[in-house]
């Protein structure tokens, strides 16, 4: 989709008391405004249908840099304001954009920045690992912190309460019944019906942003590959893209194609695993067994061809560390042909199954309006009419050489999310074949160049869950000053609170699986 230059039009609509300073960092437009206009800008942005995509802050000497990333028609805009660290306050954008809500709470907990007028200023990322009025991402906070022997449980988080005859609460987690990441869900229910769900995440907060500081590019890439283990390719790619932009490094064409193959293989593996798991959550074990079998075969090919079942650490700053021989290409193509045949057989069995239909259709409904308001991305958004895909809208190499067919549905239920993911597998298989056909001989890695201190980059890729935004700023000597990865889950988790409403409690697992947010990618 070509950019329509809405930015020029937008600039002309800004009232004269907002001063915009335009700065060019790499490929993204950066506008710097004064802090008092922070919310006012958001109000105009929402009128102009800009999507709120990410928000983060940075501590530089005696000031805080606060950033918001907006998107419209595939064009990204980075908005920045700088405030003095002695009085860290600015108007909240969460009043205008619900998507900004948790992000601002994260920034509040990590930097001690107050977002004035925020509709819900309870702590979010902070439990009890560090005390109130301590802010881990301030530069004077030591990476080791001052932990006590046993971190106490977060007993007094003020959950929303319900009152009235017959209503009751169900606390679930952080340790769940399955092989799954930890998080807490608080349900209010009447009988089996869910009246309200409140998510309490942050249990797997590992200080990723803090321990990224001071790393060198290769070490940062390893860390980025562990932001969310199921999205190791996606996050590693986004972080490397950001670092490469900052350093002015262009990756070789062969490396770009191999990155594309890795990313699509990751998409196929996760979609297959989850389609099986969704069916398993409604006791349709046939699909679980078939899809986990297909996923295992796929992962074994990953190990044979690339040397790692989940494809970790294959992308490095400047390129990739794995190559594809002619035999490997032939093996992958043969595998794809066989997989297509198997998928057709299995999916027909699913499609014609009335008991599955009964459980998946209309369950976990997410309306287009709510999806748009929360800025829901990836297959969750695309099943609810959000026509977004970075691979098509803001294509990066190698997607700039191909046409990416984006699957869109408007039904918004679990079945819809399942079908979107199935169709995305088919698209990914075609893309892998296409990239293999385009492979040209050449280098796998461009020579790294130490970026100038202060260089910034913004990596934006379409991971299997959806859009990933990764921000990097370099310090002197090739060291990372700031790393912020925005996993798609950060935008999608709030949608779960909405889509479970009026479903029955026993359907929560399947609703949750159909969205499949990352806890680790959210908690950082």
């Amino acid at each position: 989709m070509s950019s329509s230059n809405w930015t020029a039009d937008f600039l002309s609509r800004l009232s004269t008391d907002i001063t915009v300073t335009q700065i060019d960092i790499s490929s993204v437009t950066l506008w710097q405004i004064e802090s008092h206009a922070w919310q006012q800008f958001a109000e105009l942005a929402v009128q102009q249908n800009l999507r709120w995509a990410a928000g983060w802050a940075e501590h530089i000497e005696h000031r805080f840099f606060i950033n918001t990333c907006f998107e419209k028609q595939g064009e990204y805009l980075l908005l920045r304001t700088i405030i003095d660290a002695s009085n860290p306050e600015l108007p909240s954008q969460a009043t205008v954009y619900p998507a900004a809500n948790r992000s601002e709470r994260h920034t509040q907990d990590m930097f001690g920045i107050k977002f004035v007028g925020h509709p819900d200023d309870r702590r979010w990322t902070r439990h009890q690992a560090w005390i109130e009025k301590n802010y881990p991402l301030r530069k004077d906070f030591p990476v080791q912190g001052t932990p006590v022997g046993i971190t106490p449980p977060d007993m007094h988080y003020p959950f929303i309460k319900s009152h009235g005859a017959g209503t009751y609460e169900i606390p679930v987690g952080p340790v769940h019944a399955g092989i799954i990441e930890p998080g807490h869900f608080r349900f209010q229910a009447v009988g089996e019906l869910i009246l309200n769900l409140e998510e309490r995440l942050g249990y797997v907060h590992k200080g990723i942003e803090k321990i990224a500081e001071g790393r060198e590019p290769e070490s940062l890439a390893r860390l980025a590959g562990r932001v969310s283990g199921d999205t190791t390719v996606g996050h590693c790619w986004a972080a490397c893209m950001a670092m490469e932009q900052a350093a002015g490094v262009i990756i070789p064409p062969r490396a770009a194609l191999i990155r594309g193959i890795l990313a699509e293989r990751e998409r196929v593996a996760n979609h297959m695993g989850d389609i099986g798991a969704i069916c398993n959550d409604v006791a349709f074990v046939f699909a679980q067994m078939q899809f986990s079998r297909l996923r295992e075969l796929w992962q074994r090919t990953n190990a044979t061809v690339f040397g790692h079942r989940l494809l970790m650490d294959k992308i490095i700053p400047g390129g990739v560390v794995c190559d594809l021989s002619d035999e490997s290409c032939a093996l992958i193509k043969k595998e794809i042909t066989e997989l297509r045949k198997e998928l057709t057989e299995v999916i027909l069995a699913l499609d014609l199954n009335s008991s599955l239909e009964d459980r998946l259709y209309t369950a976990g409904f997410l309306s287009e309006e709510i999806a748009a308001a929360f800025g829901t991305v990836g297959y969750v958004g695309r099943a609810s009419g959000q026509d977004k895909d970075v691979r098509r809208d803001a294509p990066y190499a190698p997607y700039d050489q191909v046409t990416v067919k984006v699957t869109l549905e408007t039904q918004g239920d679990i079945a819809s999310r399942l079908w979107v993911r199935y169709k995305e597998i088919r698209t990914a298989l075609r893309l892998i074949e296409n990239f293999i056909d385009r492979l040209v001989a050449g280098e796998l890695r461009a020579e790294w160049q130490t970026p100038v201190a202060g260089s910034e980059g913004l990596g934006i890729v379409e991971g299997w869950r959806g859009e990933i935004i990764s921000y990097i700023r370099f310090d002197a000597d090739n060291n990372i000053a700031r790393f912020y990865p925005r996993d798609p889950s950060q935008l999608n988790w709030p949608a779960l609170e909405k889509l479970v409403l009026n479903n029955i409690v026993p359907d929560f697992p399947v609703c949750n699986k159909s969205l499949n947010g990352s806890y680790s990618g959210n908690d950082l």
Binding site: T146, R222, R309, L310
Partner: protein, 171 residues
């Protein structure tokens, strides 16, 4: 319905047999695991998995133990929903400080005799995350660990080997 039966029949049993060297190893491992479990645990061992801060990579591979290739349940190993039903805690991740109490409580809720397996590099030594204001590092910094399965993440075969190592060790 007919399609389902047809697919099941044409897929056949994919569970690893004695053919390829790798598969033989798996089968051998499984048989040994089963022998020890039969002897020490009357035929079954119950595992409660706890993610104490992992990136979810280890969970994907632990899940794979239940796929039809490994089918670990045929050796008497099964995953349970509560620590109160468990013989073994299979813990992943560096222990995030926010999960420290939850892990301790899960450990306390597991009846004696109990064993703890730390799965993955993070659980073994802190891995990429180490010890920080937010992370306690290795699982052994929080609860006693009986066996360690390294790997980032450990493959399903490595996990099976680790379990065997645990149950063959004298306790």
């Amino acid at each position: 319905m007919l399609r389902i039966f047809k697919k099941i029949l044409t897929t056949g049993v994919v569970t690893e047999q004695f053919k390829v060297p790798k598969d033989e190893e798996l089968e051998q491992l499984g048989i040994e695991i089963k022998r020890y479990i039969d002897k020490k645990f009357s035929g079954s061992i119950a595992i409660r998995q706890v993610d104490a801060g992992s990136c979810n990579g280890c969970e994907l591979e632990i899940h794979a133990l239940n796929n039809p290739f490994y089918d670990i349940e045929r050796f008497g190993v099964h995953f349970v929903a509560s620590p109160r039903h468990a013989d073994v805690l299979l813990v992943t991740g560096p222990v995030s400080r926010h999960m420290q109490t939850a892990l301790l409580r899960t450990y306390e809720a597991t009846p004696n005799p109990k064993w703890v397996v730390a799965a993955g590099d993070c659980a073994a030594c802190g891995g990429e995350f180490g010890v920080s204001y937010a992370s306690c590092g290795a699982v052994s910094n929080v609860i006693p660990v009986d066996a360690v399965v390294p790997g980032c993440p450990p493959t399903p075969l490595a996990l099976m080997r680790g379990l065997l190592g645990l149950i063959t060790a004298e306790k």
